[in-house]
């Protein structure tokens, strides 16, 4: 039997929940994040999390509002891999703004109208003050001309890159000549890349988008440039194919060992490693399998018969089992086709690995489907579902397996990494993420993907947004101006019709100020009060100057002053560095934050269906 239950409250429980949930990530917004342990009390397990998305994911919110939040954040993360914190923080800040407005007697209808207007103002400001790559190139030249500071910084960055390579695994003696070629030439090639004068340097964009993850961003840039080079794309189109980027997580190595490698790096167990040593450095025939490699595996949607019985006419004890027969058949087929390497998207049974190992066939399981696709298209191999399906035409040719690194010495159990590549520009690039602490790998991988997606999105947008709170300050300025305007109009006409509007816009602006101060406080060198004062000072300067929309260059210098405020945190860093944000990511995050607020704001009851005990006080039974 089901029961309908209604929860009702004057103090809008939903908005309070939203605000509380967003409070959990307050200390994780902005570039300076601290790690958090999330512990499961029932099982005693714990995870180390860093990004806002992982916090929400691991908190597994189970209330209705929590689920709505998680659904939204997950959708955003899947698409952009960055900006989830901004989304969630603003959802909380604006839900507080909504609660404030409700308490002051503004009706939901008016609140929604006013807040929609507010977000339109913000999105408009973003659009207006975003810097297209053309503008950026102009600024780059402007800043480069006097004193040649720009050049120096480029050199410095290249030098830094070189230093960075020295620290990488790539320079350690075990590497093979073929791969190190890229790294040896990296310095000269990166400088010599002829680029469109209207396109700013990818390095510069990347640096300004790194948001405190310099190492991860360096990896992302390196990977992007390697992809562009190997795929021989036109220089005028710097947009790289992010689906060709892979990550490989290695624990037990210091973080400095992270590096970018052309090809696909996979980790092997020791018995597979022995096979790999035999088949390395020769062109191999490859088979690609999308299902599992085991005798009992059937494709999705196949219903095996529960009542099948085998009838035998005579007892034959010597007959081998069905499973062995299958393995023998597959191995025979593979030997006939001279396949030496099998990549499967699914799992591989131990028996198959052993049998194949005996015949020097290297089998690798759980391979990313984009790897199968790419290797398939560059070798002519056609992915099949079952191993028994393989024919001459499905087999690809010319894959190289190299022992990339023997990692056994670092961990007790042996571990070998191989690089699978095709001679003919397979176009895959693997980023090896390393850490001595196993629990940190996920966070480092997330950081890398955030940087890679930020770079990708920037190139896709062809524009950037003033960062380091710049865009937010501009929006606050505009919102406050509009609020002021509304108030002035009210006092002139004497009617109270627009009174609520000015108030709501002001509260929305406060939400953005809250975001900026939280980011500043997280840097560790400001107290909340201190940060607030700085922002207020900045804003009064803004108001006094009355910037017109046309003079964006002036604005950039303004926002740079803003940056100076932030980067004062890190005196070792060059103060001239501009910080930028992704235009579309920020716009989407803001929009989605307000969507959340609207949905929760307009909800007045929960209908809980199903049996079970519910002892909450404010339930009504239907």
């Amino acid at each position: 039997m089901l029961e309908g239950v209604v929860i009702n409250s004057r103090q809008h429980v939903g908005l309070q929940k939203l605000s509380a949930l967003s409070g959990r990530i307050r200390s994780s917004v902005g570039p300076f994040k601290s790690y958090k342990f999330i512990q499961d009390e029932s099982s005693g397990d714990s995870v180390l999390v860093c990004s806002c998305f992982r916090i929400i994911e691991n908190l597994e919110p189970n209330c209705a509002v929590g689920q709505l939040v998680y659904e939204t954040v997950r959708g955003h993360h899947k698409q952009y891999r960055t900006g989830s914190g901004c989304l969630l923080f603003l959802a909380g800040a604006w839900s507080r703004a909504a609660m404030d407005s409700l308490q002051r007697g503004i009706s939901v209808k008016h609140l929604i109208t006013a807040m929609s207007e507010g977000i339109d103002i913000c999105l408009d400001v973003c659009k207006k003050f975003s810097l297209s790559f053309k503008d950026l190139a102009v600024i780059e030249k402007c800043t480069a001309a006097p004193g040649g500071t720009k050049k120096a910084s480029t050199d410095a960055s290249v030098e830094e890159m070189a230093n960075f390579h020295d620290k990488c695994l790539s320079k350690s003696g075990q590497r093979k000549v073929k791969l190190s070629r890229h790294f040896c030439e990296a310095k000269s090639e990166m400088l010599s890349t002829v680029r469109d004068p209207d396109q700013p340097d990818m390095m510069v964009i990347a640096e300004s988008l790194s948001h405190g993850c310099e190492k991860a961003m360096k990896l992302a840039v390196e990977a992007a440039q390697m992809l562009l080079k190997t795929n021989q794309q036109r220089i005028r189109d710097p947009l790289f194919d992010i689906s060709k980027m892979l990550t490989c997580l290695v624990s037990g190595l210091p973080e400095d060992c992270a590096c970018v490698v052309e090809g696909c790096i996979l980790l092997l167990s020791d018995e597979q490693a022995a096979v790999a040593h035999v088949v390395k450095q020769q062109p191999l025939k490859v088979a690609l399998i999308t299902g599992d490699l085991s005798p009992t595996y059937r494709h999705l949607g196949f219903k095996s018969l529960p009542g099948e019985q085998c009838v035998r006419e005579n007892l034959d004890l010597s007959a081998s089992s069905k499973e062995d027969e299958w393995v023998d058949k597959v191995v025979k087929l593979l030997l006939n086709l001279e396949v030496k390497l099998i990549l499967t998207a699914g799992l591989v049974s131990q028996k198959v690995i052993q049998h194949c190992g005996r015949h020097q066939i290297l089998v690798m399981e759980k391979v990313n489907s984009s790897v199968l696709k790419t290797i398939g298209s560059s070798t002519g191999a056609i992915p099949v579902h079952y191993a028994t399906q393989l024919t001459e035409s499905c087999v690809g040719d010319g894959v190289n397996v190299e022992i990339w690194r023997d990692l056994s010495s670092y961990e007790r159990k042996s571990l070998t990494a191989v690089n699978i590549s095709t001679g003919r520009n397979s176009g895959l690039v693997t980023v090896v993420v390393t850490s001595c602490v196993h629990g940190k790998l996920q966070a480092l991988e997330d950081q890398f993907w955030a940087c890679a997606y930020r770079l990708h999105q920037a190139l896709k947008d062809g524009a950037l947004l003033p960062g380091a709170g710049g865009a937010e300050v501009l929006c606050v300025h505009q919102l406050q101006k509009q609020a002021e305007h509304d108030r002035a109009k009210d006092s002139k006409t004497g009617s109270a019709a627009n009174l609520y509007r000015g108030l709501v816009l002001q509260l929305m602006a406060d939400g953005l100020i809250d975001y900026i101060t939280a980011v500043m406080v997280n840097t560790g060198s400001f107290t909340a009060a201190n940060a607030r004062t700085i922002v207020r000072k900045q804003l009064t300067e803004f108001h006094r100057d009355e910037i017109s929309t046309g003079k964006f260059l002036q604005l950039v210098s303004q926002s740079k002053r803003e940056d100076a405020g932030f980067s004062a945190v890190k005196p070792d860093e060059a103060p001239a560095l501009n910080i930028y944000d992704n235009l579309s990511v920020k716009q989407e995050a803001w929009r989605k934050a307000l969507d959340l607020v609207f949905l929760v704001l307009q909800t007045d009851a929960e209908i809980i269906t199903g049996t079970g005990q519910n002892n909450e006080g404010n339930l009504m039974l239907l």
């Binding site: 709505l68 939204t72 009706s107 018969l305 019985q309 056609i382 969507d595 909800t603 007045d604 209908i607």
Partner: protein, 576 residues
Amino acid sequence: MYIASYLSSLMQMSRLVKKSPSVCTDLLLNSSDVCNKLRLMKELLKSSYGPTARLKQVHNNIGGAVVTTSTSSVLLQAISSSHPIISLIKGSILNHVSRFSDCGLFASVFCLSLIEEAGRCDLSKNVIIRVNKHILSLCTAHLQQEDCGCKVQLDFCSSQSLITLARSVISSKPTCVLSEPESTHISRLAVQAFLLTVPCNIPDKVRLGRTVIIPIEGHSVQKSAVFPGLLLDTPENISLGNLCSPLRMVLFSASLAGDLGELGDGRIEVHQGVDTDSQILGQLLELGKQVLKDEVKLFVCQKVIHPVLQHYLRCNAIIVIERLGISLMEPLIQLTGAQPVATLHTTIPREAYGEVHNVSVRQFGSKTKLHLHPAGKTTTCTTILCHRNETMLNELKLVCQKAEHVLRLTLREPCALLGGGCTETHLAAYVRHQSKNNVSESSPVLGCSQTEYLVAAEAFCRSLESVATSLEHDDGASLIDLTHAHHWTLPSDVTEEHLEDATALCGCGVVQSCQNKKWSYLNTEYAEFSPAPLLTASPLQPTVLDSFTAKVNALEVAVETANLVLDVRYVIQDVN
């Protein structure tokens, strides 16, 4: 009162379980428990009514998915009660919604108001039921009249009124979180899709086509679009060789997974060395060979296709689509003229093949779709719906389906009713006027005194007006103007002078306020009057329109359900 159930105990002599007797409840509308439940249900549905409604989060108590909505079909399905009266009301409204899609909340709120009002006036239930029936016929007769004041004829020469109708449906659900231009865009798409489903050349029997809605999450609403033909899911790396049109296609409704699924749980015995799997696969490949010989270029299956067969077909340059799903079968049959093949054990007859003019690949974000262009004129189209968030997208899909249905209903009766509560206030004013005027004739026919008749009629009118009042959720006041009887709302923070402001409009947007207009609050008494028709030179341009067919039916359903509930004397419940 208890009625012992002898029968059941007699039938189960062998068991010693004692059955408890059934419980019979008398005069249930007098019980405060039932009244509270009805009131709660009314509050729940009333607060979900209209474009500024409050939303409900529907979920189960074991952590299931949360649905945020204000749509009657979802809400009513979630509401379930131990009480049969609630289930009765729920059932009859859901039945209305399944037939007409629209006006579910109108019917529920009206029905529950009628029951509540009936409880308030001190009349015998029989009288109320008879008067309700009489007034209902009065209303429906008035609505069917050519010169009915709250009805507008739809002009099919221009799409404007159709867009207004669609827009009223689409903007009535705030869960969609649509901005002004967004809801205009979606309304236009709804009308466009509807027009595509109407056949151009009319054979002896007109058959409307189908609209398939494909939701895509994470994109802006403005990216939504309508395409003639069908868009099907396809694997990412599809390659279309040079195909010459038209393409022959085959459609399977049987599973081609290679299993013996149709055998069910039966037991089969297999001889040693016999491999059933490979035998079925052999059969499947035979099928593949035939299809190849017959020059089929497009191979579609409702269910799973064995990977080996897929591979075989793809290697022979045939486009393969599996897991089509039951919902796309009918539109695909309409589009291609194919007959679905339900078995893999015979050769495919030639008549079963269908045809498409051409295919192309379309990309929507990360999703790849195969666009099937129809061979001739088609009435099948696909709407791609995009929204930023799953919750909002789900509601948008529901709303678009509703809009499509409402637009189709206009073909049956090419008119619409004024929205925004104006139809309700107009009807209430009309009924008041009529019942005052014909009280001497009507009361003897209905077998009641004149006072009884007037009191019951007043209850009916108040119920109607309370539906109009339910549109306001922000403490604003509802008013009726005393000339045209349209519905007006006065926001809580605005004084009455606002209404005299020349810019103010009534609920449906037809009447403009002016200085010498008189208003009355909806829950107060006012002198009855006959609503004056609007005399304008140009045809009316309402901004909010309701479906005529759906609303008339909802009116009937609400009154009949309320009458039935009022008529229930006993509830007998088996408590075992």
